[in-house]
Amino acid sequence: MSALAANEMAAPRRSFWDRPWVAPLFVFVAVLAVWELIVLLLRPPTFLLPPPTLIWQSLSSQFGALMSYGFNTFQEAVGGFLIGCGLGLLAAMVVARSRWLADLLLPFAIASNSVPIVAMAPIAIVWFGIGPWSKVAIVAVMCFFPTMVSTVRGLTSAAPDAVALMHSYAASDWQIFTKLRVPSALPFVFNALKICTSVSMIGAIVAEFFGGAVNYLGIYIKTQAGILKTPDAWAAIVVACLYGLAFYFAIVLLERWLMPWHRHRDQR
């Protein structure tokens, strides 16, 4: 069956393989098996490519410690996320009210996307010390701009007729804001928040690469990699991924709760 037909024309064959979780699971297991096999056959040095079994061993034996390091890093990420996204929302509400201000500031905000904000970690360390607050600061800056830009877009996304409708009811500016602009902004806001969850975990870890205490994931990974204890580093990465996914899904749940009307792709 040509790919064209399979993609567009054929009715879905409800075989076992079509279920959404089956193929990824198969790939996951297959990749692990192949990895293990390669290590067994080629016998590379452990520090270069550790087998999954060794990683699992490291993970299970240090699970508690790793999870607590992860939690520390996670706190930095969440702290920065709350501050950055919170300020971004507030700034957006101010900026969206004034076209002149929006035209002036939005290009800066968009330009900040192309700046490696994480490179400012050393300055954050100088200001806030080597502890978690410097990482919180970097994450906050990284979350601020995307949130502000998306929220401004969302707040101004209402169709002119929808606004005219409100005017025809002689609605006050506050009513227009709460009943029209905020609900129409929500999809944009959540788009940004979902991106910010991964941005904050990444930001926290990379900021830690610039310096920090050992009971944080970033430092731990960097240190263990440096002394060639790669299984431990990989185990820490697994933990980092777990926290990252958990953060993302928390926001997805929040989105589903706050936007029950939103058609998600699968439902259309």
Binding site: L165, Y169, A170, K179, L180, L186
Partner: protein, 261 residues
């Protein structure tokens, strides 16, 4: 009847742009509308019919001239919620169910909750959406969405309805059905309706009076009184008199159909 007109439009002009590039959307338009009339504004794009409607609704201001509604300015009429506006696109809010969309004006106007429900139910039933209170807009067809927006315009019982090509996006069959439903509503509620359309047949079918407008600059070309008896129905559109009236309007707009020499 020597009653004062409910809406009086007096030498209204609307000009867009500046000294270098002007568009005269409306030039020196005057019109009076009596209480309880169903008046259509018909004409091709650019004739200013939608602009005129929005001036009446105080969604825009005239460059010259004056409009009075119920004896006062459009701004006051708007603030006192004396009309309901229906747009061409249903303009329902995605995040509200049909019922919550219909009660949007009531919420904005701060009307107390206990007076809402009975009236809302009645309006939604009147437009045929009795079983769809808790559906979201995306679950409804175009025609049903438009009916919901009409129910919304009626929910706070304004005396005047301003409708801007409300059925323009619908297919012909649905449109004819909606025309008849609108006439039912009009005959039951006796509201004053200004109906903007570019369909001549629709204008003739619905109105008691047709205001024909032409563009460049936007102005009133003619007024045609429609003497077809009410209630009007499916057979009305097949009657000779209907055809005569449509032809009469078409002749007035001949240049718009055929093009300029």
């Amino acid at each position: 009847m020597a009653e004062a007109p409910i809406i009086a439009i007096d030498k209204v002009s609307k000009i867009y742009g500046n000294a270098n590039a002007r568009t005269v959307a409306l030039q020196d338009v005057s019109l009076t509308i009596q209480k309880g009339e169903l008046v259509s504004l018909v004409g091709p794009s650019g004739c200013g019919k939608s602009t005129l409607l929005r001036l009446v609704a105080d969604l825009d201001t005239p460059s010259q001239g004056a409009i009075t509604i119920n004896g006062h300015a459009p701004e006051q009429a708007r603030k006192q919620r004396e009309y309901g506006f229906v747009f061409q696109a249903p303009t329902l809010y995605d995040w509200r169910t049909v019922e919550r969309n219909a009660r949007l004006p009531l919420e904005v106007m701060g009307r107390p909750a206990d007076t809402w429900q009975a009236r809302l139910d009645k309006m939604l039933a009147m437009v045929g959406l009795r079983d769809f209170h808790h559906h979201y807009p995306w679950q409804l067809s175009g025609g049903m969405q438009q009916r919901a927006s009409i129910a919304r315009a009626l929910s706070f019982d304004p005396a005047i309805l301003l409708m801007d090509e409300p059925f323009g996006a619908l297919d012909e069959f649905t449109r004819e059905r909606m025309n008849m439903e609108l006439l039912d509503i009009w005959e039951t509620t006796h509201k004053t309706i200004i109906f903007v359309t570019h369909s001549i047949a629709e204008a003739v079918f619905l109105s008691s009076r047709i205001v024909v407008m032409t563009p460049r600059p936007g102005r009133i070309a003619a007024t045609v009184a429609v003497d077809l008896p009410y209630p009007r129905n499916f057979e009305t559109r097949e009657s000779p008199r209907f055809f005569e009236l449509v032809t009469q309007v078409r002749e007035t707009l001949k240049e718009e159909f055929v093009g300029h020499a």
